[in-house]
């Protein structure tokens, strides 16, 4: 392989990992938005919580492979409680949900600092091997993260498309009243979606804890990227979020690999602005009564 090609392949691999993480965060944001119209900004803090819980479980002797699902379940449950305790009262006024979620950011951030302190935690790294193929260095841990993301995204698609409850979620996203008239317990589906969104973010956080050092302010940067991805993909659109995640990951990586690195975020947000100028509702806008009244 020529050096240019192997560098390109390396950057492609770099992009793939980060796209997987962005996709998980964006999916968390997009499923919640699709169903409730609430842009849940506190999902960044749920990601941080997932990362720190993964670390805590791992530190307590659990293997990383069990620590991540445990953290996802715990954060999913926590997100469910938040829905029951706060967000369900804001369903008719998504803007209030948005405000609640901003307030939650501060509360959760302080909670995390209270428990774990302001310091960082070193990455967990269950796989330390690095595969070298044609000059491309591929840490096994990164492959693992890519595959976990792919499997979770695949599972989510299958569930949404082929299961009764997945279809019920889509029905609720398109028309909450009509879904209720089908006998779908809408409140339960919404609560479940909050749990799902939280669990997806926590999984992203847990995976991040195996790649990078984590600190209590981890969430904000991933929230921003995840939100950009969800927006590019069309808020509420699950397939769109995944495609946009790859697009944003590629733009960011290739931009900072081949052009000036310090402009990395400018590439991402430049892409976002360009796409929104041409398609104000994202590449693949979701359609539903809720989206139409909101947008």
């Amino acid at each position: 392989m020529s050096q240019e090609l192997s560098v390109f392949m390396q950057q492609l691999f770099n992009a793939l990992t980060i796209s997987g993480v962005y996709a998980l965060v964006a999916l968390g944001i997009t499923v919640i938005f699709g169903l409730t119209g609430i842009v849940k900004f506190s999902i960044g803090e749920l990601l941080t919580l997932g990362a720190f819980l993964t670390f805590a479980f791992w530190e307590g002797g659990t293997t990383f492979f069990l620590a991540v699902p445990l953290a996802a379940i715990a954060v999913g449950g926590f997100s469910l409680l938040l829905e029951r305790g706060a967000f369900r009262f804001t369903l008719d006024q998504p803007i209030n949900g948005f405000i609640v979620s901003l307030g939650l950011i501060l509360v959760l951030q302080n909670l995390i600092i209270e428990i774990w302190g302001v310091g960082f935690k070193a990455p967990i790294r269950p796989f330390t091997q690095v595969w070298e193929v044609g000059g491309v260095s591929m840490p096994v841990q990164r492959w693992f993260v890519v595959w976990v993301a792919v499997v979770i995204i695949g599972l989510l698609f299958m569930v949404l498309r082929y299961t009764k409850y997945g279809r019920a979620m889509r029905a609720c996203a398109e028309d909450r009243d009509a879904a209720a008239l089908m006998g779908i317990p809408v409140a339960l589906v919404i609560a479940g979606t909050f749990a799902l969104g939280g669990a997806l973010a926590a999984t992203a956080g847990g995976l991040l804890a195996s790649l990078f050092a984590i600190q209590p302010f981890l969430g904000s940067q991933y929230l921003l990227k995840g939100f950009a991805v969800a927006l590019v993909g069309g808020l509420g659109n699950v397939e769109g979020a995944v495609i946009a995640a790859v697009l944003v990951g590629l733009t960011e990586t290739m931009g900072s690999g081949y052009l000036a690195t310090e402009w990395r975020d400018a590439y991402t947000f430049g892409l976002l602005i360009a796409i929104l100028l041409v398609r104000p509702r994202g590449l693949f806008p979701a359609r539903g009564r809720l989206q139409e009244t909101l947008q």
């Binding site: 980060i18 302001v118 310091g119 330390t128 050092a213 960011e252 690195t261 990395r264 975020d265």
Partner: protein
């Protein structure tokens, strides 16, 4: 964002520049039995100590605490103490530990029954304030301490509002000691402009700029085969200027700078730019940032096999714990300024970290070494008061402080140079695969 990370970058730079030098000039014959992973290398003086050693009296803690039994009075004096106990976390960690050094020293002095001047035994009470990382609040606290509490001494802060506070303390002729990050770069000159002079201000953090070239020269001497240097730094005014300083120093030392990459704050995935730097085949990768970023950059660079040698200001034990297996065939230089706690490089430092751990409730905090940027200077200030024979005449005390030499935990001979910067050295450690961490102390460049 930029402001909040500033402290760590500078600390990082100091450490990085120093450590590469210190570590590379350390003795290479390591204990071969390899059983003791934290074997202490004998403290060595690097070649840096070219000036004639100080031949006058070097005071010790015992000298400061000595009492002759003739005292008839007991007086409690009040000093101001203000640090960033809340606010951005990176500052908070740093400021809390720096403030801790003062608290700890004061507690020790009081526990030892105070200090004596003539017929009076003095104990110290600290008036503690949280500046909340707010410059305006810092100014307010400074005024309150001087006007209402009439203190003659103020410690802190670490960064926010330090320049503004210094203008006030110098106009009021109040002794002002801090490990202030900006003073070496900007505020001394501005203070001089504002107040005419800054006779009562003392900087307990050593001067930044002189370490760069020395560090680069040390690396060149130790590793003549290394030629190519790649540098990564954060995108900010200070980050860029420090990066330039790095470039100048390493070029002057005969290295070829093959790549400089700047990344935006908040980055965790550095692989795109590391991929780019690796293309240039560097021997050494230089980086400085807050601890999280350093850990990420180092880990990813090791994965990608970017260079042979890496450096970081992370404590060496953290590096070893985080990267154990992945260090094969590579070396990482790491350490602390003035002394790291993992492998103590002097008996005084070892004893200090033991006592300090007890003071902090059994465990050393993350940046424990930073407490040494204030701890010894409390004793030095007391010594200056004793020498001047007063706890009130700040000009006489400042005059005395300029002449004091003190053997503390941080250095065997600590003093302030003409610009009132402390003169202390730093520790450097080399972390290698399956080998004990090797540390040594590099003495400061003496004026």
């Amino acid at each position: 964002m930029i402001k909040r990370l500033r402290v760590w970058w500078i600390v990082g730079v100091l450490l990085t520049a120093l450590l590469v030098g210190a570590a590379c000039t350390s003795d290479d014959d390591v204990d071969d039995d390899g059983e003791d992973a934290t074997a202490t290398s004998a403290p060595t003086n690097g070649e840096a100590a070219t000036a004639t050693p100080f031949t006058g009296t070097i005071l010790t803690p015992e000298d400061v605490l000595r009492k002759d039994g003739t005292a008839t009075k007991e007086v409690e004096i009040e000093w101001g103490w203000m640090f960033e106990l809340s606010g951005p976390p990176q500052i908070q960690i740093f400021a809390t530990v720096t403030g801790d050094g003062v608290l700890f020293a004061v507690q020790e002095i009081n526990d030892a029954g105070g200090f004596q001047i003539g017929d009076t035994i003095y104990t110290i009470k600290l008036l503690e304030h949280d500046t909340e990382s707010d410059p305006n609040k810092t100014i307010g606290i400074t005024r309150q301490l001087i006007v209402d509490d009439e203190v003659n001494v103020i410690w802190g802060p670490a960064s926010f509002g330090e320049a503004e506070a210094t203008v006030i303390t110098q106009a009021e002729q109040v002794l002002h000691l801090c490990a202030c990050q900006d003073r070496g770069l900007t505020s001394l000159s501005s203070v001089e402009k504002a107040a005419g002079e800054s006779h009562w201000a003392f900087q307990t953090l050593p001067l930044v700029s002189r370490f760069f070239l020395q560090g680069a020269l040390n690396v060149k001497e130790d590793h003549p085969e290394y030629e190519r240097v790649a540098i990564i730094c954060i995108d900010s005014e200070i980050g860029r200027s420090i990066c330039e300083l790095y470039e100048e120093s390493y070029s002057a030392a005969g290295f070829e700078i093959v790549g400089v990459k700047v990344f935006p704050p908040g980055t965790s995935d550095y692989t795109p730019l590391l991929t780019n730097l690796k293309q240039q085949n560097p021997d050494i990768l230089l980086n400085f940032d807050d601890p999280t970023a350093q850990l990420n950059i180092l880990g990813q660079a090791l994965d990608m096999n970017v260079a042979s040698s890496y450096n970081t200001s992370l404590p060496p034990d953290i590096v070893q714990a985080a990267f154990g297996d992945r260090l094969e065939g590579k070396e990482v230089t790491a350490g602390g300024i003035p002394r790291q706690a993992t492998v103590p490089t002097s008996e005084a430092a070892a004893a200090y970290f033991e006592r300090y751990a007890e003071f902090s409730g059994g465990e050393l905090p993350l940046a424990s070494f930073v407490s040494l940027l204030s701890y010894d200077f409390v004793y030095m200030l007391v010594a200056a008061m004793q020498q001047a024979g007063t706890v009130e005449d700040t000009t006489a005390i400042a005059d005395a402080l300029e002449t004091i030499h003190y053997a503390g935990a941080a250095e065997d001979d600590i003093y302030f140079n003409e610009q009132h910067f402390s003169v202390i050295g730093s520790d450097g450690c080399i972390v290698r695969f399956e080998q004990p961490i090797e540390c040594s102390h590099d003495a400061p460049v003496r004026d």
